[in-house]
Amino acid sequence: MLKDVSFGQYYPVESFVHHLDPRVKIVFLIVYIVAIFLAKEFLALGIAAALLLLALIVSRVPLPKVIGALRGILFLVVFTATVNLLFYQGDKVYWDAPAVLFEWKIIKITQEGIIFSIFLVIRLVLLMVCSSLLTYTTTPVSLTDGVESLLAPLKWIKFPVHALALVMSIALRFIPILMDETQRIMNAQKARGSSLDTGGPAKRVKAVVPVLVPLLVSALRRADELGEAMEARCYSDGKNRTKYKKLRFTWRDLLAFLLGAGLLAGMIVMRYFPVFAL
């Protein structure tokens, strides 16, 4: 059950994408998200998807893993697509049929609504694949290093960048631990006959309390212990701390950076000078 939650877990293989500077990957992700929301035609989305597919193949992360990550947002995708499909108002005509295909009470299926929903699904899927690619190919440590380094300019306005990065790395570090813990507690309660994996939906919801309470107790205890351990080692703010791994910008990063910049430029151009206007 829980072991299927694969989003956010590093997948350890050697690849071009894994060796990229995390800063480049984070920037690339942001640029990519902007780009797919700029895209207004299928060709543009197709190009973006092709680029992502290329990155995926190069990264050597197996496809089932990525699909597993998609399963997590399946409900969200289906839900938003359905809502848009049923209620989107628009009167553009794309093919040889009336603009409004079906109408019943407040439900209105329009041609524009269909196109819009398809776009939305593709965008959400690309977004999810791209962000899970980031976490599959970047260890939590280098991810936080990247964030810290990217946010470094904010230090000038006294923003606690290091503290923020620390909070993030602790949170990332604790996800798998809490996941294990949840599994353990769930098993213990199942052994005592709790209806977590048997019984109807109402029963299952009620069975959550005996899992949540011990989980909360243990999370608070862990937080306490961690705080004490850090204090005992005289951990203070990030001033004058050195890093074990220095981030370095290499030719790979330049290449990825150029690809991202190219994609963004292409999307902007295509937005204002569409090839196949929709």
Binding site: Y11, V13, I185, N187, A188, A191, R192, G193, S194, V217
Partner: protein
């Protein structure tokens, strides 16, 4: 209920770079009425195996298994065939109680009474009456050596470590399972607490639970209590025999990174000095045989 496992294999994260073979074609039989010990070095698959016994770990569907040709997995607990998907796992779990490592992490209710009653209410066919609940919960709590009147309304989080452990065990035995499985029940307790937990298990065995299966690192307790012991190593069972025979293999066990009971160490040391003692490695028997030796020859 008899436990039969044959050709049991378990791989965590199969098909990924994190794949770990935790059980490797393991076969083991535990008879009804045994006080069965499971020992083995860290990561040898003990916890994984015991979780199979009440269906918390499940075999992949028989379709998947059949694909790997020559699959002959057998996993039978009493009348329950755990290789089948349709097995009634609720009924199984009522008959096979499971105490996990650090069971106090499962406490959640506002009072000890509520927490202990949780399992009983879950498994009861129809809603138990207040008197019935009171009776069974009292019996379970008192059986574990806690004082019922003083803990019944206490929050489980206010108890001491040893008391929490007892309360958690009470929450499992309250249903009177036929088989009680415990994963390192004494871990993290002080020597006295350890002894008390083992004494508790001894008391439970027989009247309360027919069969007890206990994973433990404490060889003295194993030698003292168990009818038979299985030695796990890398997901396989190396030996499965009474302590009396097992601890004669002192050197093999130590090569596996396992400890041996104090009595076995003493026997080995005495044997080196030319005084072989043939005992069953309980303290009682060791002392008796040693004294008999002393009386027999002067040394």
């Amino acid at each position: 209920m008899r436990i039969v496992a044959e050709h049991l294999t378990h791989i965590y994260n199969e098909g990924s770079p994190f794949a770990v073979k935790a059980l490797d074609d393991l076969s083991l039989t535990i008879e009804e009425g045994e006080f069965f010990g499971v020992i083995g070095h860290t990561g040898s698959g003990k916890s994984t195996f015991v979780q199979y016994l009440n269906g918390l770990m499940r075999l992949p569907s028989s379709k998947k298994r059949r694909k790997k040709k020559g699959d002959r997995t057998v996993l039978q607990v009493g009348e329950f065939d755990l290789t089948r998907k349709k097995t009634d796992f609720r009924a199984l779990r009522r008959k096979v109680g499971m105490v996990f490592q650090y069971p106090e992490s499962q406490l959640f209710a506002e009072t000890v009474f509520e927490d202990v009653a949780f399992g009983y209410k879950n498994f009861a066919e129809k809603k138990p009456t207040a008197e019935e609940l009171e009776r069974v919960v009292r019996a379970a709590i008192e059986e574990t050596g806690l004082d019922y009147e003083s803990v019944r309304n206490a929050s489980p989080f206010d108890l001491s470590g040893g008391q929490k452990r007892r309360a958690a065990i009470a929450g499992v035995i309250v249903t009177r399972p036929e088989i009680l499985v415990l994963d390192e029940p004494a871990a993290g307790l002080d020597p006295l607490g350890k002894r008390e937990v083992m004494e508790l298990l001894h008391k439970l065995h027989g009247d309360w639970c027919k069969t007890v299966v206990v994973v433990s690192h404490d060889m003295d307790e194993i030698a003292e209590n168990c009818t038979r012991v299985a030695v796990f190593s890398d997901g396989k069972v190396l030996y499965s025999e009474p302590p009396r025979e097992l601890f004669k293999r002192a050197e093999t066990l130590q090569a596996l990174g396992l400890d041996i009971p104090l009595t076995a160490k003493l026997c080995a040391a005495l044997e080196k000095r030319g005084v072989p003692i043939d005992c069953d490695f309980t303290i009682e028997d060791f002392v008796k045989k040693t004294l008999a030796r002393k009386g027999g020859e002067s040394c």
